[in-house]
């Protein structure tokens, strides 16, 4: 949204009154919630929080100060300025932040923004993870400051940073222990032979694998060469421009030399694991092995044994179902996610599914301001009901009561408390089961209806992040330990008869499925290890027949080849009986819950309401040459508040070519963009004067003085749809050099637009979904009646997915201006009618259609030189056909082109495009001689 408004602003500067022509798509970052921001000032931090989460902010303040003390010793460095720390009580609130203009995906746990040094962190239901993310981001803050200091001290340019594997690896290494999730990734990479050497790390730039490899590498460096070497890698950063050489002077090994010993070390470390454990593919039956899959649940419908699960196979997350009895199971999409307002996003790895006996599928999606709990009727293939709760922001893992009348689920409320709730379906009323600081998740209602088993950190090891299983007895409303120990116990799943409980535990170093016999007396209960996967098993779910007889089969998610795959494992009963590892819990050990610390009293320097604190984002002077404004010298300033909600832009420049023209070539624009509320708005004033070229008519050269103001409103209906409206008043005094008389006008332009966009993007442009824009506008001269025209813009683009990475993209658009002094549109060039000279086709009316087959061409192109190498990723191919025409009063002809091209994505910010093809002219009746070649930049339409 912010990008859209900024674009609007720039467009105003560029084309002044012709703003009805402004043109864009894009999804919306909707400000659903009006936060009442406050500031907590501690010794080193300014903590921004909102009223409902005060206690959570105090806990975050404690973690932040504790981490600060820890890190200043590690870095032998401190931070000179106060650190702005912006907290949100849930991921959904975090996704509304304006600190960054981009969208925040599900998996992002926080970020550090370099420009103003802001750290933005959501609470995600666990105080342990909250503390971890705070420390992780503070490592970035310290590292950034330390590296800059080292470079400044040695009088070197501060425009370089260590490689991402180091920055992210260190942030993990100095903020958390090596956990079983990290171990899972490394085991899989080593045992399946895809560990990426340090020397080739750019191949996996920005991936989770790179983060974990970075962490493991630094752990190894510390162990093998000494802890102090980590600090020295930063203190020696000035010694070489290549980080490989910094490694050489610090530990005596370049990347290449290090790789030899590091890869050998990994093999020595991980190969012996195969003595006791299995690769998932060796001992389980494969059901779905593409993409990412999670949270399977079994249901038998119309005689078909089906598994329902959440998966992401194409970039969108959906609910799939797959027939277990098919020879080659083919998953089909049951509910499409991330395309509609209702099912805006699934929480892929966080919220399980459950199906009642009568075929009601309960699941959770993000839907507007909060999550929603949906009931889907599998038998009738339709959505049955949806529940939203104003005070419950995030919902998770619904589980049906055996009678199908109630659902238990976990939820994070406005204040960040993560507790269990029961929903009575008939009355739509809620009962809160727990209410404390602990994380409660994965509830599973017992088949006898008497208890709920759930996973929680309410145990002596919870402060270290360990989750145990607990039993909530509904009649007594009390909670008992089911497991206790320094390990994680997750995803409990009851067998149909209530005799067995399957769950996962990492008690021996990797998550595997364990079974507990629940019909034994509590003190005699043992848990037995069912799977021995070398990587990890998650989300076990029992497979049964309608009579309730166990089929001794479990479906589960196994991690292999960097993919979460849906598997099944048979003969569970026999495997339990012959299990070679079992464990009996001692319930008489100390079971005191940990107490979450928080900062209060004198440690809080101040606690006050937030009043906009503005700082500069950009301040620069420049001399530029522009096709419309000519050569100009001036300055631009941009400033915004800490939360990014209010932004101001100041532009001042002069286009004078001689001293005498100075006063009459003075230009200034001031604009304010407000993003803090759901309705975004922007307004500003401008004064432009100077010699101009008319972009739509190259022969038109004129002097113009224009001043006025504008106001734009944008209201997002949802993440995918919005309406916009704007008005501009501009006094234009134009002196065209080839005309005898000057033209004066007081122009008023108004417009109304509807924009829809649910497209999914690949490396060079959209691959799925569709985009639509409709605009109506009217421009008139209210003083002299010199100008009066209306504008219609209609643009529709559709992307038909052909495979995971290929698509057929189509667009058709019509731009229509009609009336007195109606402005011309233009096209031609790499962005629209390819093959034709850029902007060479002009007219007050214009239409264009394009069709393009997009496909992967080269995934990785590496070029080695004696002094090093460079590599390019994501080179895409395209076959295209375009047609269109432009005219003022009488239609002239239709032009077109066909051809092929390649697109190269550079760092995710720039796409280089090369096209070759044939132009078609005379109403598409004749190919022109020769081939055209076009090289330009920009994303695919």
């Amino acid at each position: 949204m912010r990008a859209c408004l900024k674009y609007t602003f720039l467009l105003f500067l560029l084309v002044q009154v012709a703003w009805a022509q402004f043109y864009y798509f894009g999804r919306n970052k909707v400000q659903y919630t009006e936060f009442d921001w406050k500031v907590l000032r501690t010794e080193h931090f300014d903590i921004y929080y909102y009223t409902e989460m005060k206690e959570l902010a105090q806990r975050g303040a404690y973690f932040a100060e504790e981490s600060y003390k820890h890190l200043e010793q590690k870095f032998n460095h401190n931070i000179r300025d106060r650190i702005p720390l912006i907290f949100y009580s849930s991921h959904l609130h975090f996704q509304q932040t304006n600190v960054t203009p981009g969208f925040i995906p599900e998996g992002v746990g926080g970020f550090f923004e370099f420009l103003k040094g802001r750290v933005v962190i959501p609470f995600e239901g666990s105080l342990y993870r909250f503390a971890h993310v705070i420390r992780h981001e503070l490592v970035h803050v310290f590292m950034h400051s330390k590296i800059n200091r080292v470079l400044a001290d040695h009088r070197q340019s501060q425009d370089r940073t260590p490689p991402l594997w180091f920055t992210e690896g260190l942030a993990e290494f100095w903020s958390t222990e090596w956990d079983t999730q990290a171990e899972m990734v490394m085991r899989d990479a080593v045992l399946n032979n895809y560990v990426v050497p340090l020397n080739d790390m750019e191949r996996i730039f920005g991936t989770f694998l790179m983060y974990k490899e970075g962490q493991k590498i630094l752990e190894y460096v510390a162990e093998r060469y000494g802890q102090e070497k980590i600090l020295l890698l930063m203190e020696n950063f000035w010694k070489a421009s290549s980080f490989s050489d910094v490694m050489k002077v610090t530990i005596g090994r370049t990347y290449k030399e290090f790789d030899e010993e590091w890869l050998y070390h990994l093999k020595k470390r991980y190969y012996p694991i195969m003595g006791e454990n299995d690769l998932p593919s060796g001992v389980t039956k494969n059901i779905v092995d593409i993409g990412f899959n999670a949270k399977p649940v079994f249901y038998k419908h119309n005689g078909k044994r089906q598994v329902y699960f959440i998966g992401n196979h194409t970039g969108y997350t959906n609910i799939y179902r797959v027939d277990l009895d098919q020879e080659k199971p083919e998953p089909e999409v049951l509910i499409e996610g991330e395309k509609t307002d209702e099912f805006e996003a699934f929480h892929l790895f966080q919220s399980k599914l459950d199906i009642s006996k009568d075929g009601m599928l309960a699941f959770v999606t993000k839907s507007g301001e909060t999550d929603a709990l949906h009931i889907y009727d599998i038998k009738n293939d339709q959505l049955h009901d949806t529940f939203r709760f104003r005070s419950l922001v995030v919902l998770g893992s619904p589980s049906w009561s055996p009678d199908g009348k109630r659902i238990v689920f976990s939820s994070v409320d406005l204040g960040g408390s993560n507790d269990l709730y029961i929903l009575e379906l008939s009355t739509r009323s809620l009962t809160r089961l727990t209410n404390d600081i602990y994380e409660d998740r994965d509830p599973a209602w017992s088949p006898d209806g008497k208890t709920i088993i759930f996973s929680s950190d309410r145990n002596p090891y919870g402060q270290e992040g360990y989750l145990n299983l607990f039993q909530y007895n509904l009649s007594a409303a009390n909670i008992e330990y089911l497991t206790i120990g320094k390990a994680n116990y997750l995803s409990p799943a009851w067998s149909r008869d209530g005799k067995r409980l399957a769950f996962t535990s990492d008690i021996d170093g990797a998550h595997n499925v364990w079974i507990m016999e629940m019909d034994q007396p509590k003190r005699e209960r043992t848990m037995k290890k069912l799977t021995w996967l070398s990587t990890a098993a998650f989300d076990p779910s029992w497979v049964y027949d309608p009579a309730g007889k166990e089929e001794s089969v479990l479906v589960l998610i196994a991690f292999e080849n960097f993919s979460f795959q849906l598997k099944s494992i048979a003969n569970v009963g026999a495997l339990i009986d012959t299990s070679r590892m079992s464990y009996m819990f001692r319930y008489d050990v100390g079971k005191e819950h940990w107490v979450g610390p928080k900062l209060d009293g004198p440690s809080i320097v101040a606690d006050s309401r937030y009043i906009g604190e503005y700082k500069l984002d950009i301040a620069q002077s420049q001399v530029s040459t522009d096709p419309i404004f000519g050569t100009a010298g001036g300055a631009a300033l941009a400033m915004s508040d800490v939360l990014g909600n209010d932004q101001y832009y100041f532009l001042i420049y002069n286009t004078a070519q001689a001293r005498s023209e100075f006063l009459e070539s003075f230009n200034i624009a001031i604009s304010r963009i407000s993003l803090g509320k759901r309705t975004n708005h922007a307004y500003g004033i401008f004064h432009f004067a100077g010699n101009r070229y008319d972009l739509t008519d190259p022969d038109l050269f004129y002097y113009e003085r224009a001043f006025g103001g504008y106001f734009v409103l944008s209201y997002p209906l949802s993440k995918f749809r919005r309406i916009e409206s704007g008005v501009t008043i501009s006094n234009s005094d134009k002196d065209v050099y080839v005309q005898a008389l000057p033209r004066k006008a007081l122009l008023v332009s108004s417009s109304f637009s509807f924009v829809s966009d649910n497209s999914l993007w690949g490396p060079s442009g959209p691959l799925d979904g569709n985009r639509l824009k409709l605009t109506l506008a009217y421009t008139t001269d209210v003083q002299h009646s010199n100008v009066s025209y209306y504008t219609i813009i209609a643009d529709y683009r559709h992307y038909l997915r052909l495979s995971t990475r290929s698509a057929l993209a189509s667009r058709i658009h019509v731009w229509y201006n009609d009336g007195k002094e109606a402005r011309r549109f233009f096209m031609g060039g790499s962005w629209d009618l390819r093959g034709w000279q850029r902007w060479s086709i002009r007219g007050q009316k214009l239409w264009l259609t394009s069709h393009e087959l997009r496909f992967p061409f080269i995934d990785q192109l590496g070029i080695r030189f004696p002094f090093g190498g460079i590599s390019f990723g994501s080179i895409r191919g395209a076959l295209f056909a375009d047609a269109g025409g432009a005219w003022d009063t009488k239609y002239i002809d239709t032009k077109g082109s066909v051809g092929a091209g390649v697109r190269l994505n550079l760092g995710g910010v720039l796409v280089l495009r090369y096209d070759i093809g044939k132009r078609i002219e005379k109403n598409l009746s004749r190919f022109q001689e020769g081939l055209f070649h076009q090289f330009f930049f920009g994303w695919d339409f």
């Binding site: 200043e72 010793q73 032998n76 000179r80 400044a152 001290d153 040695h154 000494g226 102090e228 010694k239």
Partner: protein, 388 residues
């Protein structure tokens, strides 16, 4: 009145004469030997024992006299003699500064960044650089020429001059003993075989009989000063970055394992060990009976030299990574919290503090009635007691 006026005129005349003997900015030219004073600060730690004890005392409160911008980071202590200050920078320069007014007298470009403190010996300075080939140089201050240069590998420590012998520890893990007049190597001591050798970031100190230093391998070494043979070595729990001090027949040094070790110089026997609970990056300072050492958690620990018993401790707001300075009954210590603290040496009571513009990573130095403080952001600041 007349006498003080004459004295002032005399001082000015001396300064003018000295300044007249310098020429230009690019290059350092000191035409005649400077006058020695007992409180001259000519090497890291102020003496070969590195005890960071000043022979003159300045009593707080202090006020700023001048501020000098060295244009590059400073990690080495300033050296002072007779109205001239020598400063080395991380962008590879040795600069001469007028002590009276803080104006630059001249500078000379070196091989690369200088992390340690040079040794000032008459009209020569011995300077070690962190990168390059000719990393050790004897600079003639009279004619701005290199008297000799040596290829001893990267050096991030402060050389030690004892009589005619110059000692230097290197990142290649070697202690060199050189002839100061021509830089020829007399002997070397290596901390392990070549492949396993760890760098030395700890500067050498000496009691006259042995040279002591710490190493990244976690050992504290004592080597016979004249022969280079190992007398003893003592293992700590982590790398030793700090420079040892030698006092009352003890070698005292902190390790990154958080402990202060006091080892008998003669035998290598551990006399006492004190755990600070945090990393120790900087050297200690010693008075007759006490040793003072800062730790990364911002605490300054005052310990009895003979027993290691803690007498008092003081908390700064951030890391203390440089050695304190003993100046009579006052103890000065700087912290990354940008504050120079003046404490009562016997009790740890805070008497005064000075907020510097930047973090303080280098020990202060006292010459006469001036305290020279190095602050991050390239500054050298001269402070003097407030005139009552």
């Amino acid at each position: 009145m007349k006498r003080s006026l004459l004295r002032a005129i005399g001082k000015v005349a001396i300064v003018v004469a000295i300044l007249a003997s310098f020429s230009g900015c690019a290059g350092i030219r000191i035409a005649r030997p400077l006058r020695a004073a007992p409180y001259d600060w000519l090497m890291y730690g102020g003496a070969t024992s590195r005890v960071n004890q000043s022979r003159s005392a300045v009593t707080p409160p202090l006020e700023e006299v001048w501020e000098y911008n060295a244009m590059g980071g400073i990690h080495g202590s300033p050296l002072v003699r007779d109205s001239v200050v020598l400063v080395v920078t991380l962008h590879g320069e040795i600069q001469a500064v007028n002590l009276t007014n803080g104006e630059r007298i001249g500078y000379m470009v070196l091989e690369s960044a200088v992390e340690g403190t040079p040794v000032w010996d008459g009209l020569y300075a011995y300077v070690a650089s962190a990168l390059g080939t000719e990393t050790l140089a004897c600079i003639g201050l009279r004619n701005a020429e290199r008297r000799w240069v040596g290829q001893y590998g990267p050096i991030e420590t402060s050389p030690l001059l004892f009589g005619e012998l110059l000692y230097v520890t290197t990142l290649n893990g070697i202690l060199y003993c050189l002839n100061k007049s021509d830089g020829t190597e007399l002997w070397r001591f290596e901390v392990g075989e070549k492949e396993k050798r760890k760098p030395i970031r700890s500067s050498p100190a000496s009691d006259g009989a042995v040279i002591v230093f710490g190493s990244d391998d976690g050992f504290i070494y004592a080597v016979e000063r004249t022969s280079g043979t190992l007398r003893w070595k003592h293992q700590t729990g982590a790398s030793v970055f700090a420079t040892p001090i030698v006092t009352r027949e003890l070698c005292i040094v902190g390790s990154l394992d958080g402990s202060v070790y006091a080892i008998q110089v003669s035998s290598g026997k551990l006399s006492w060990k004190y755990d600070t609970g945090s990393k120790i990056y900087g050297a200690a300072a010693a008075s007759d009976t006490m040793v003072y050492v800062g730790s990364a958690d911002g605490r300054l620990h005052a310990l009895r030299i003979d027993s290691g018993e803690r007498v008092w401790s003081f908390s700064a707001r951030s890391v203390i990574s440089s050695a304190p300075l003993v100046a009579g009954d006052i103890l000065y210590v700087g912290s990354l919290d940008r504050t120079l603290y003046a404490l009562r040496r016997q009790t740890g009571e805070k008497l005064w503090q000075y907020e510097a513009p930047g973090r303080i990573k280098v020990s202060p130095v006292i010459w006469g009635d001036l305290l020279l403080l190095t602050s991050e952001d390239r500054l050298l600041i001269a402070l003097r007691p407030v005139q009552q």
